[in-house]
Symmetry: D2
């Protein structure tokens, strides 16, 4: 039975995680929250190495942006990965989010067990809700018309596409969704949206007041951008490289909003709860296993 | 058959109205849009009196804030009501929004026909959509949690309450609605929300992450404010005097957002289309009558 | 405080009412359930007059079909209204459903207080749910196509029209709703249905796979019937005289299903609970008053 | 370019398919519809062998129940598979539904190309709609309470489970869904239902008024059946062997409705359209390929 957990680095999501774990009866230590944030009654480690005494160490999403320092925006002083690896013992378990290939290799080389919780199916599904809500917030804020009655295109019918489609339909938008496979086309129609193939987006692009992209490859190229209504808005939710030909968008003067990492920005406490549920699932599986 | 319409004063809603009327074949003159706004190819009156040549004159919402000047935020020079009445002929029809008692009396005294389109049932119903979307935008923007899974209270089950309830349910919030009458209580339950009586709001106030008020009298008094979760958000959509005891809210340090006239702010083009539909209905009824 | 209630006549709804009142602590007597129905542990009156000892007597919906006998389909022997009035004392309160003008006059003449619970707003709203579900059941059962993707017309946007519209939209039907007033037209559009005026039903009648009528006057006349698709289905939910020109329908060989009193037929236990809630509201108001 | 298609055997679905193919410009021959059904202006083959002249032959769902005769309920005389194979040439393409292993082997042995359209993802997704509507129709018809307010369990969150869940939620039922995987649990919660693990169905079985099963293995065993409310209804939508321990259900006197092949029964014309779309997709892919 794991009893001690440290939460090292991260933002309000990580702090929410720490608070929820403590409520659940774990002994929790936090580290990297000594600037402009209130840690309440949580126990705070004096140094990074002090924080690595717990059985389980949780690093944020992403664990590290540059591979050199832990991602810790609320730390007074930077937390170095070198120090982390010099102090951590081989018996520890690290749970980290969005671990780069290079960092994963270093964990392996150092002989420290690391599980990337950002890959977990349940986290990705649950994160689709704050992502979709964040996308809707942007649309509501940026468009001079109501979503009710607007024509919206959702590119891609994966997790985010599904939840976004359902919200847009509920708001009364006229929703078209693009997908690649016949089975997804059938699904899209069964929920009451219009379906098109993703490779025909350019042919339909002129019909929409707002286009949400969820596909991480250039699906909105020059032709689609040229066909758009000039006042239409593109909200790109896809991770790097995104789905928009940025140069063409600039030269055509199209309105593109690149909205990344929405859960942490628009609903950090919900996002922290989602991480907590996921961490708990991982620990439960380890104990059963 | 009315053929000529002037749109005098107002914001992007009024300009949208002017453009749509012109598209429909009316000869349109606009007045009061000579500063920081693009009137495109619309015919612009040189003076207020020039604008009053048309058969129908449309004034904005509200027609006048102070009774002295027409509400014309994009006018380089103020448009005075005195000049308006000195130029307008007795055969003209004025359609104006949210006309004060005093202004209505002046129209009567001057012998100029004036219809207040802001009172029309269809406009009030249609405006509930941008109002509810605006309220949801504020909630999405201000809350650190998703609306999905949040506990929301909607006070009042009139036009805005009904549409807001339906959107919040669709987003996955746990929605409670308050009303006064048994019939409304039955309606609220039939759409899948929990119902309480408005006079028991204080007893339930501690349960909610967000409270939307639509009732224009003090329904969120000191007791309810004291009972609220400290981090809960109140979004007050009710017109003056609003529904919140402001002094108590301040002394208790509660988060209150007073959100008035949302349609014109969050969806001015949709709001302009709604005014256009309403103006058209009024003209059609006059011609039939 | 009322403590004793008799439930005289009626069907499974009345029996459900009796059981629920007993669960709430009332002393309950039932009468008229001695044939083909199981009254469980409920106390049964030997004669109609024995049943009239309680403080409150509940009669069914309708209280009497012919004015001569109480509506009591599960009574071995008929229960006569004459005997009812000869035994009942002047201090009793009768709660009865759908009381005819003639019967109401008799109650007045006999000096017996009678409240018609069928007129109560909350009962009418709540009954709209089983009515709409019953209408959907008929459509699902009778149509060779799915409601998903079908074109449906709902005539009238009152209680039943509203709930039926919302269910049909949720099932993925293409829904048009007719109404008479501009405000209702705006409401219909705001929930995502298409709106037409009720007096133009004939002009649109050819577009629909199924037509639900909720208006109790002839809105589907010869012209509309002639314009319908031959295979289309009409489900008439309106009380007498219904909304269909029956002779024209016969000569044109149209499929009309006249579906009356659906709550008691398709969901008698839910309908009984609704009556119980209403009876309870009436008693509570009497005690407060 | 394929120009000629025969539709051999089947029910109203097959006839709908034939009519739609003819409307699309194919030369269509039908065979096996000479008893109690109206083939309108479709060309009818005199013998089975005459029908096998077309380039493509479509057999129904299932193609054959016993491997000896083609499934042809509207054929005056039985259509034998032996005759079918003796007449059909090697250049023909057969599209058949739900082909048994044995029949597939025979097609291979005879050197006749056969594609099973019943396995196609888009058909399975689209068929989930009439299946779910049929299940709802049964529940509406058999339950003495409204689905609104009822507690419903859906076992399995595949195609049918997803669509059924969404309809039940829209009707206002309190919906719990069971699944096996964490990712599905997250999906279920994201659409607003309660989620449980399928292996814990017995522990929760006492909570529901109606249980829909979509999993084709015994998930409702003796323990679950014993725990159910006596008046609860089980609607089993799973193909053979179904999901209910039938013997235990009998000895416990539980209400089980085994509802198979709903699309063809409750919405044969919609089911025929779905087959037509699928046949068309297959032909289009063959021509591209």
């Amino acid at each position: 039975m794991i009893k001690t957990v440290s939460v090292v680095g991260g933002d309000l999501r990580a702090l929410t995680l720490a608070e929820l774990l403590e409520k659940d009866g774990y002994e929790v230590i936090v580290c990297g929250f000594d600037k402009s944030i209130d840690t309440g009654e949580l126990r705070t480690a004096k140094t990074l190495c002090d924080a690595l005494d717990s059985e389980v160490i949780v690093l944020p999403i992403p664990a590290s942006g540059d591979g050199i320092y832990i991602n810790a925006p609320y730390a007074e002083e930077k937390l170095s990965m070198d120090e982390f690896f010099s102090c951590i013992g081989p018996s520890k378990l690290v749970l980290a989010g969005h671990v780069s290939k290079k960092l994963a290799d270093r964990f392996a080389a150092e002989g420290v067990a690391c599980i990337d919780y950002y890959n977990r199916e349940e986290l990705m599904v649950k994160n689709a809700v704050p992502t979709a809500e964040g996308a809707v917030e942007i649309a509501l804020s940026e468009m001079p018309v109501t979503l009710y009655g607007s024509s919206a295109l959702v590119i891609g019918y994966g997790r985010i596409g599904k939840i976004l489609t359902s919200i847009l339909l509920a708001l009364g938008a006229k929703v078209t969704v693009s997908a690649r496979r016949l089975g997804d086309i059938a699904w899209i129609e069964s929920v009451g949206a219009k379906a098109i193939y993703t490779d025909s987006v350019a042919a339909y692009a002129g019909n929409f007041d707002v286009i949400f992209n969820t596909v991480p490859s250039i699906v909105i190229g020059e032709e689609a951008l040229a066909a758009m209504k000039p006042e239409a808005l593109v909200i790109d939710l896809a991770s790097v490289p995104g789905g928009v030909d940025i140069e063409a968008a600039k030269s055509l003067n199209r309105r593109i909003i690149w909205a990344l990492s929405l859960p942490g920005k628009t609903a950090p406490i919900s996002a922290g709860r989602i991480i907590k549920d996921t961490v708990q699932n991982i620990l439960a599986e380890l104990e059963v296993g």
